[in-house]
């Protein structure tokens, strides 16, 4: 294995690999920064290019698009409070506050450095521990996923705002919203009022843009016509001292993100929120979180990037794609004549290690590309408000529309924008609602699967086969109570 690793190292050192990786990173970053264009879509569109390239060039190119895209999503989240994906929601909370304080550069630097750190460490960990991780992945079925999702929701509810009751109300509302549309298991229509547009449920993107961006735009417009700029300065770069201050948080989030990545079906959204909650819980000044805390960005970004390493494991060891991103990568692999699966390491060990090594290089390369392009991006906030606001508003609508070219989504955008304004006036935090909405569908699905597995006899099945899931479920009230005591009643 060591021999293959060394051969792989040699194979990955190629000029064309580095060039295509840079191109992929840059393309991914641009696409990720545009609301409405998902990283997934960018990968799907660019996939055919990789068909015609050497495996050690084509696959790192796609990985570059992927990594660039995740960071790209945090750019509008930080600068104009417009998170394009659920994974960027936690980042936008402190990031936008920092932008308003004139510290957008620091925020972007921190997002970049913690992303790269989380990703690199989890990639290394994955390389070394690939077979133990593969074993762990197999221990999670629908009952376990249900238990872990429920635990995550409870943690988010009690730690995200100052009033746990308000958070719980918003989360339950979010959960209810996720039930609208066709029931994913039984095919029954729920709360659709016979509207065809609601059959596929409420789309996420209009909700995110509506809830987070529209109220902020309205805020800038209403506050004063004399305010010339969102922020006159982009501020200084992040200092090494600031990075060191957050280093403990970054490490903690990296561990959390890696663990979340091992559980199939959990994903980046949960990782970011858990990393954020844990950092807030461990901090001796939890009240600064949500008010422009650099550590909050570090916590969320390190965690959501650390998910990437372990999610590759089922693909590499079994040839099974766990989600759509890995499904596209599977396509890229097989089109190159590489068959991911149990024998991939025996047959093509050196090539696979070359790809994994290239992944690590991609991270380092990204640090450079990102660092050089941040000054350019952060300058956006210096644009005059009278120009910036209409442009941002246009992007909000255009981004919502390009997602699937549906007029109905624009109505949703406006509705959620109004809702966001009302919630803000009533001091209700919309984040638990979004989390309830995002996690509601997988939660319901996992529950339905568990029911189906037990053939309806739920308790019997759980006690006979699933004691692990039961123990997680039983721990939820205890963990919830402890966190509530520590954070829920902390002074605002």
């Amino acid at each position: 294995m060591l021999e293959q690793l060394i051969t792989g190292f040699g194979m990955a050192f190629r000029v064309d690999t580095f060039l295509m990786m840079s191109a992929g990173l840059f393309a991914g970053m641009l696409v990720g920064a545009l609301p409405g264009f998902t990283t997934l879509l960018a990968m799907a569109i660019l996939l055919p290019i990789s068909f015609f390239l050497d495996p050690i060039v084509g696959i790192p190119f796609l990985l570059g698009v992927y990594k660039g895209g995740i960071f790209g999503g945090s750019i509008p989240a930080i600068l104009v409070s417009m998170p394009g994906t659920g994974a960027a929601v936690a980042t936008s909370r402190d990031g936008y506050k920092l932008t308003k304080q004139g510290k957008s550069r620091k925020a972007l630097d921190m997002a970049l450095c913690s992303s790269v750190f989380g990703d690199t460490v989890s990639d290394f960990f994955t390389m070394l521990m690939i077979f133990p991780i593969a074993f762990l992945v197999m221990q999670f079925g629908p009952p376990e996923l249900f238990a872990v999702l429920l635990l995550s929701l409870v943690i988010i509810a009690v730690t995200s705002g100052n009033s746990p009751i308000k958070c719980l109300v918003m989360m339950l509302f979010g959960l209810w919203l996720s039930f609208i549309g066709t029931d994913p298991l039984g095919g029954v229509e729920r709360f659709t009022f016979g509207l065809f547009d609601l059959r596929s449920g409420i789309p996420l993107l209009p909700m995110l843009i509506g809830l987070f961006a529209i109220p902020e735009i309205a805020n800038v417009v209403m506050k004063s016509s004399k305010v010339q700029q969102l922020s006159a300065v982009t501020g200084e770069r992040m200092t090494f001292g600031e990075f060191r201050r957050c280093f403990k948080t970054i490490c903690r989030s990296t561990v959390i993100g890696t663990c979340v990545g091992i559980v199939p079906g959990l994903g980046q959204v949960v990782a970011a929120m858990m990393g954020y909650s844990a950092a807030k819980n461990a901090s001796d000044h939890p009240e600064t979180f949500g008010e422009g805390e650099l550590e909050g960005i570090a916590a969320a970004e390190a965690a959501n990037n650390a998910v990437n390493g372990p999610t590759m494991v089922p693909l590499l060891t079994l040839g099974i794609p766990g989600d759509n991103v890995t499904a596209i990568l599977l396509g890229a692999f097989v089109a190159q004549g590489l068959r991911p699966g149990p024998q991939l390491f025996e047959e093509q060990g050196a090539t696979v290690f070359a790809i994994l090594v290239a992944m690590v290089f991609a991270n380092l390369l990204f640090l450079v590309i990102g660092y050089l392009s941040i000054p350019f991006f952060s300058r956006i906030v210096q644009i005059k408000t009278s120009i910036l606001v209409p442009v941002v508003l246009m992007f909000a609508f255009a981004g919502t529309f390009v997602f699937r070219s549906d007029n109905f989504d624009l109505l949703m955008l406006v509705a959620f924008g109004v809702f966001g304004l009302i919630a803000k006036a009533g001091k209700f935090d919309v984040m638990p609602m979004v989390m309830g909405f995002i996690l509601g569908s997988p939660l319901e699905y996992a529950f339905g699967q568990t029911m189906a597995m037990g053939n309806g006899a739920l308790l019997e099945f759980m006690f006979q086969e699933r004691l692990g899931a039961i123990s997680v479920l039983l721990s939820i009230p205890v963990i919830g109570y402890l966190l509530w005591r520590r954070l829920g009643r902390a002074p605002a």
Binding site: M43, P264, N324, A327, A335, G341
Partner: protein
């Protein structure tokens, strides 16, 4: 000589006059064609479409652009094409289950038979019945016997109700009069993972994409779809008593009904050339996909048979 040139000119202008009636479509395609896929990114349709659309411009002399429009089990994208102008610039790339089965389980805002005509079935992915290598079920008969002995006791992992794995499983249940516990997963990947982890006893999978797991001795295939055996020692579904068009996922390109014949002919001709293109065959071969072109008229007959079979299947399963 002069007169012959004149004659030619006259002839040409006459032809041009005659062609005027259809001039609107004579130059088709004049702009890029949109191929709507009613599913999300990263699925096997997406992969197939990426290969098709990267090569077919050679024969159409226009780009073909993939637009993914997922939602409501394929209904959103399908409806979009049903409502599109039947000018050949908006096409649908779908499969037989979404195309012909959904109408019996959902109240659709379109009529698949009335609103669409098939252009080309590009290929079919034959499915296999898969168990773990350490499973007690050595043959298809063992599996059926176990399912008969313990109705609902066997867990069968599938990729969603009325999907590509669910339907053949239901057809097996229907033809052998047994009941399995059909547990849904969010895609074929997670369903295969459930089989390997022991959460499920049996699943369905496309053997062409499972080579690595088969070679590694992780899984065993009990039967495969299609008319001919895929593996010398493994029977087809027909041989074990599941007859009909069972277990093939047909990938098919459709156009809205009312699309002019010239346009259909241009598209069909392009697909005829596509399936013989060497880089197309090489790439599809690597993806483990077959290439078996069936043209519109012939596939239309298959659709009609599918409709009858699926209606009977849905009625028997939902007990109507």
């Amino acid at each position: 000589m002069f007169s012959s040139t004149l004659k030619k000119l006259a002839l040409a202008s006459g032809l041009a006059m005659a062609a005027l009636g259809t001039a609107a479509y004579a130059d088709y395609p004049e702009r890029p064609i949109t191929m709507v896929i009613p599913f999300g990114p990263g699925g096997s349709h997406d992969l197939n479409a990426r290969v098709i659309t990267s090569i077919i411009p050679t024969y159409l002399e226009q780009a073909m652009i993939v637009r993914l429009t997922p939602g409501a089990g394929g209904q959103i994208g399908t409806q979009e094409v049903a409502n599109a102008n039947p000018d050949g610039y908006t096409l649908l790339f779908t499969h037989n289950y979404t195309d012909m089965l959904t109408q019996y389980v959902e109240n659709l805002p379109y009529d698949p038979m009335e609103d669409f005509i098939p252009i080309a079935r590009v290929n079919a992915a034959p499915i296999g019945v898969v168990v773990r290598a350490d499973s007690p079920y050595e043959t298809f008969e063992d599996l059926v016997a176990a399912a008969a002995a313990d109705p609902g006791g066997l867990r069968m992992a599938h990729s969603g109700n009325w999907g590509a794995l669910f339907v053949p499983a239901a057809q097996i249940m229907q033809s052998h009069d047994v009941v399995m516990n059909l547990v849904p997963y969010q895609g074929g990947g997670p369903a295969m993972q459930a089989l390997l982890s022991g959460d499920a006893d049996v699943t369905m999978g496309f053997p062409a994409t499972l080579g690595s797991l088969i070679d590694a001795g992780e899984i065993r295939i009990l039967a495969t779809a299609g008319e001919e055996r895929m593996f010398d020692d493994i029977p087809t579904l027909t041989e074990v008593g599941v007859v009909g068009d069972v277990g093939d996922m047909h990938r098919v390109l459709m156009a809205p009904a009312g699309t002019p014949d010239e346009v259909v002919e241009t598209l069909t001709a392009a697909f005829r050339e596509l399936v013989n293109d060497t880089s197309f065959t090489r790439m599809m071969g690597r993806l483990g996909e077959s290439i078996e072109l069936i043209e519109g008229d012939e596939y239309q007959a298959m659709r009609e048979q599918q409709a009858v079979a699926y209606e009977a299947l849905v009625n028997s399963l939902t007990g109507q």
